[in-house]
């Protein structure tokens, strides 16, 4: 019963001077955002939330996570997501909710019942504020992982070196996530280009440890299962040393010192012979 009267009181407070409170709220929030969101936009967003909030209170709920506040949470989700995408700080996002406390404070009469209602309302707004923070953080995390994915895509090109020969120049540190992407991309490229030879060039890879070697081996085996052969090139002297020191066994996988050597090898395996037109001492 008490809870009901509290929410009734709040609905009363919020509706009697609804227009004024809403406008004040918008002003406060728009001010804190430093004009990066237009006043009209803020007003539109907050008016919707305000209406939904009053409706939820009228339904008798005081639990911000309850069913009655579904609409409010949906609106707050949209607001937080937008703020996160537009690059606003967590404070600038949460203030949209918390500013309502300040706005309501002067409207209180000073009665005990008002005070109690205000405290309850404050708790409710805290809950909703935390909710916006959760959505904000989640959105930022999504953004970060989307960017990480884009980076992966960018950093792993698959290039055609010759008819039937593709090359994958790896640059930077290889971790398992990245190797997965490379692997999938290369295998798909084999099909798309109908290439039976692939060269994985690790000239730009600073270090090869057991894990990276394992990933490379798996890629080569997967390619073989599909009917293509891989050559690993760009094994610098110090990398060759680590590989031997770690006791990594590349099995029957062909490794070459340079991409040029690997290309020559791949071409020969696909049945092509290279010859110079001018009589000259061959490199080989």
């Amino acid at each position: 019963m008490a809870a009901e009267s509290v929410s009734d009181r709040l609905v009363g407070l919020l509706t009697v001077r609804g227009e004024d409170l809403g406008a004040e709220w918008s002003d406060k929030v728009a001010g804190s955002l430093g004009g990066r969101v237009s006043r009209a936009e803020v007003q539109r967003e907050l008016k919707e939330i305000y209406t939904a909030l009053v409706a939820a209170l009228a339904e008798g709920g005081m639990d911000g996570r309850g069913e009655a506040f579904g609409e409010v949470r949906a609106l707050l989700t949209e607001l937080s997501r937008n703020r996160a995408h537009q690059g606003f700080t967590p404070t600038e996002t949460a203030v949209s909710v918390f500013a309502l406390k300040e706005v309501l404070e002067p409207a209180l009469s000073g009665d005990d019942s008002d005070l109690q209602a205000y405290l309850k309302f404050s708790t409710l707004l805290d809950t909703l504020g935390l909710f916006t923070m959760e959505v904000y953080t989640r959105t930022r995390e999504e953004l970060i992982s989307a960017q990480a994915e884009q980076l992966l895509e960018l950093s792993t090109p698959v290039v055609k070196l010759w008819d039937g020969v593709i090359g994958v120049p790896l640059v930077g540190t290889l971790d398992s996530a990245r190797t997965m992407v490379v692997m999938e991309k290369m295998l798909q490229a084999l099909i798309d280009t109908g290439s039976e030879q692939a060269i994985i060039d690790i000239t730009g890879v600073p270090a090869v440890d057991t894990e990276v070697a394992q990933h490379l081996l798996k890629t080569v085996v997967a390619a073989r299962l599909m009917g293509a052969e891989c050559t690993i090139s760009g094994i610098r002297p110090q990398i060759a040393q680590t590989i031997v020191a770690l006791g990594i066994n590349f099995g029957d996988i062909v490794t070459k010192a340079t991409l040029a050597d690997a290309l020559r090898h791949a071409l020969r395996r696909s049945g092509l012979t290279l010859s110079r037109t001018a009589p000259q001492a061959g490199a080989r």
Binding site: R138, E141, A177, M180, E184
Partner: protein, 137 residues
């Protein structure tokens, strides 16, 4: 999107067709969870191995599958349950190449590598329960 652990469904695996159904059920779950194609393929393959184990070694049983959400991650959890003879030596059964039947001995050890979490509970004479979970990346 679909809230925490959506209602799990149980499937009887008592014949070869059950293994096919298990694959189809798991494919639907993996797609619902928006797995990448490779992750999807890995999970379905693991399910196929485990469902066959349930059928052949467990003398039939059930697969219960559903979506799970934990610490912000979403995934698919599958439970294979049989009332068969159980596995006397779990470590041995999880060794590559070890087989008690006509398979290649990659059923358990192989499917363990295809999922993120793998839990095997077995009581000789009472049955085996294998619970696997794969998280969406």
């Amino acid at each position: 999107m679909n809230g925490a652990s959506s209602a799990s469904q149980t499937l009887e695996i008592t014949a070869n067709a059950g293994v096919v159904q298990a694959r189809q059920r798991v494919r639907a779950l993996a797609q619902q969870c928006r797995f990448s194609l490779v992750e999807q393929t890995k999970l379905i393959t693991a399910a196929s191995e485990l469902a066959r184990n349930t059928l052949i070694h467990g003398g039939g049983g059930t697969m219960t599958g559903g979506l799970v959400e934990e610490r912000g991650r979403r995934g698919v959890r599958l439970v294979f349950d049989d009332r068969g003879p159980g596995i006397p030596d779990v470590d041995l059964a999880l060794t590559d190449g070890w087989t008690s039947g006509a398979g290649m001995g990659l059923g358990l050890s192989g499917s363990k590598r295809l999922v993120d979490e793998f839990l095997l509970e077995t009581v000789p004479g009472q049955g085996t329960t294998v619970t696997v979970t794969k998280w969406a990346r």
